[in-house]
Symmetry: C2
Subunit: 499 residues, 2 copies
């Protein structure tokens, strides 16, 4: 693997003189909003992962593409790092600012440029809210499928940057499966179109490469998404279980029965009680676990699938199966699930949200492992997650004001993610790596694989000015973290490149 | 954009001494089959695109991963280019050998390693035939969805390298949507795992990057594919039209009605007559065009969809609509379509197959444009293609023995692809760029975009030893070809990097 260095690199990491950068940008971009006073910067000090806070050096809020281009060129010339931010709802600190960097806020690019019902596509700016796309498509009977729980607030640019998921991704795929084309601007201020309106584009799949790249390869300035026809019918079953592992096994049984539910979500007792207390969704507070299974499609098909799933759930030992009577109750069932995170937040001063994925068959074993870790370390863990995808969201409850509890929570979180990796899964499903999970990447990947990531990064941003310190750890960081992945007994490469 | 040069590069393009390479490889790999006599090399001189033929310098047929690693390391050290070949069914010359290169034949890696019906995945070696995966999964009621017409012969490694499509890709996606994980070996002999068994993997999406990379980034040595449950029911409608454009418009109407058919294929009169003459599929030889529309899913759902599609087809002016009475007739309807290429081959000494994609709404206009080009240049063109995807396969009929006809066919082909690009589409849907369409890539992409491709290539293979001269044209080639893409009136970058 070839990592090719840019000798100007070190400049990027040198301390930057704020006032000279400010002066330079103000002169180059007199019409762009540029925040620099502490009180103006404060609202941008964190994203949805509020545990980490950093005051940015400057906040840039362009409103034209020409300004974005010029800003990127200036930062490239000055060697100033750039962190791009959408709505700031990300849960892994991907938009956490840098003290020595510019925070590029894309919220002014919030126009829906085109909805084409015949081609079933929408062309939008990155600051458009996820749900706003479905609202714009609704008059044509269409919608945009990926639905992160933050969909009323999160913006599509961030969804692409993080390859966001949601309740319906089991059937309809992640963001990467629902995006056709993006426009990007590189750190050198070049515009590129990746993907195409047609169903495939030749050359390397740079569209997929940029999707989920967490702002490390370029700034996304326009997105063309696929729209899907709204299913004719959707029904939700809620099954109760007296045992978490039985519920975990039922998930695999449903899939093995040939059903692909629109959504298949699991909550354990702690999550159920939290959500019920907050939303009054009608959840069974005595159950050890519930499964919410949505079936969608043509009316007759949905009825058939409901009957099959009921049978599977009964055989798997469900103690009760309820079906939402109408769309209002269906919405209520989902409201409990979608508000589970804030609901858990009402039970504990702090919680730490994990995002590990595992192969479905490992669900019972990993759930048991999490329960054991919870007991060993004396911290409660609520489980609420995309069971069908094997995408777990254990929420570790703690009180940051009690000395040592944050560290204990981080330890439990790290161990849970290592359990996921060991089970053949990964440390993040849909929330991204960001700042939060960068050390766990050392456990996930071999040095050769990390080196490949760095080589790709260098192809677009050799000076590593875009979102440094996120997503892909340096090999040096991994060596220091002491969790270097050892593959098949081989030690890491003796001569590691240093970053 | 940063292109970082490897100064050793030029060595790779220097003439190579065959006998010294042979001696070196024989010594390093005494147990590996290594063909070097002309009569042994002859069978490998072309792939499915028989218009181009080159005798490889050497053919290597390893049967262990250690041999592949050692071979790659040797070629890297010697600066000898490597072209990887699967079953050799590719239609764009992607596996065309090099006179100065080693052809790496992966056909001995032909084992199905694991079928896991609960996780719905299969783990296979690259030389496994596409159809063999579905056969192995059939006892569990599962199958592998992408189905290129060559599926009885083509191998899955080549499918991944070319991001192969097929009749069912409209509903079930291309290869990239159906692969979970691959193992690869780089030109430096390093093994990497890309993707994961779980539903998403953190870091950059190198799995998608490798899928469709046409052997330019590494050698694929193992593939984990998704399996889908076989639909309960599948029915096929065949609609006749007295006008090609009407049929083209009907395609968009079906999609706009909220239906996603399992397959939606179109054939024009020339293709219909060729196929009928060859297969006796029961096609209407007087029709100007037919649409084959397969609907699959739950029984009741399929019946509903059939009724909707019938209505849409009638409104679109279909002169007749037939429904396959049983699975035997359904298979026959598809046999005509899947054998259309060889069928057309019986009508003309030679044909030239295009693979352009366009947005569906442009079908009527582009079909008209193709008819005009056909008339202007006096060459017959048969159209047979994945209409639902907007993936066209015009077959340009010619006789290579008549002076100037090949050139004329290439001209018409080039103009058709330019028409596709101009309509917002691309020069290849599922056959890849390979050697054949490398000049058209100059029309498809801007210099900045091509430079991004080269930068990514350099990250994995800075000496450009893997499949050089395919897929991604050098900027110098584009300048010589004279078809440099001009974007929004801007001239190409004045200081082009040279390759």
């Amino acid at each position: 693997m070839n990592i090719l260095y840019d000798e100007r690199l070190d400049g990027a990491l040198a301390p930057t003189d704020k006032s000279s950068v400010l002066t330079h940008l103000q002169q180059a971009l007199p019409d762009m909003t540029l925040l620099h006073r502490e009180e103006d910067l404060r609202p941008f000090e964190c994203d949805g992962l509020s545990a980490y806070r950093v005051l940015p050096m400057l906040v840039a809020m362009p409103h034209t593409l020409e300004q974005v281009e010029a800003l990127m060129r200036c930062c490239f010339e000055l060697g100033v790092p750039v962190v791009t931010r959408g709505a700031g709802t990300g849960l892994s600190g991907g938009a956490l600012p840098l003290e020595q960097g510019v925070l590029l806020v894309m919220s002014r690019f919030a126009q829906i440029l085109d909805v084409d019902p015949d081609a079933r596509i929408a062309r939008v700016q990155p600051g458009v809210r996820n749900l706003a796309i479905s609202e714009a498509a609704a008059p044509f009977g269409l919608y945009y499928a990926p639905d992160p729980s933050s969909q009323i607030a999160c913006s599509i640019g961030g969804n692409v940057a993080e390859n966001a998921g949601g309740v319906h991704c089991l059937k309809y795929g992640l963001t990467v499966h629902n995006v056709l084309k993006i426009e990007v601007i590189t750190i050198e201020g070049e515009r590129m179109t990746l993907g195409s309106d047609a169903f495939d584009a030749p050359g390397f799949d740079l569209l997929a490469l940029f999707t989920g790249s967490e702002g490390m390869l370029g700034v996304i300035t326009e997105i063309t998404v696929k729209l899907l026809p709204k299913p004719e019918s959707a029904k939700v079953l809620m099954a109760s279980f007296d045992d978490v592992e039985k519920a975990g096994k039922a998930v695999g049984d449903i899939i093995a029965a040939g059903i692909i539910p629109g959504g298949l979500e699991m909550m354990d007792n702690l999550a159920i009680r939290a959500a019920e207390d907050f939303i009054r969704a009608g959840y069974p507070v005595e159950a050890e676990a519930i499964l919410l299974c949505e079936l969608d499609g043509a009316e007759a098909d949905v009825d058939d699938d409901c009957a099959t799933v009921r049978e599977v759930l009964e055989n798997a030992g469900a103690t009760n199966i309820a079906q939402a009577r109408d769309d209002a109750e269906r919405a209520l069932f989902w409201a409990g699930r979608k508000n589970a995170f804030p609901a858990v937040g009402r039970m504990s001063p702090d919680y730490y949200c994990m995002d590990g994925t595992i192969p479905r068959r490992e669900l019972p074993r990993v759930l048991k492992g999490i329960a054991e870790l919870s007991e060993q370390h004396g911290l409660r863990v609520a489980n609420v997650f995309h069971a069908g995808d094997g995408n777990m969201h254990p929420l570790i409850l703690f009180d940051a004001n009690r000395p040592g509890e944050l560290e204990k929570a981080e330890t439990v979180g790290g161990k849970i993610l290592e359990l996921c990796v060991e089970a053949g899964g990964s440390i993040t499903g849909e929330h991204g790596v960001g700042r939060e999970k960068i050390n766990q990447m050392c456990a996930q990947f071999q040095p050769d694989e990390l080196t490949a990531f760095h080589a790709v990064k260098a192809a677009f941003d050799a000076r590593r000015l875009l979102n440094p310190g996120k997503n892909i750890p340096t090999l040096q960081r991994c060596a220091e973290f002491g969790a270097m992945h050892v593959h098949k007994g081989e030690l890491p490469h003796p001569e590691l490149p240093r970053f």
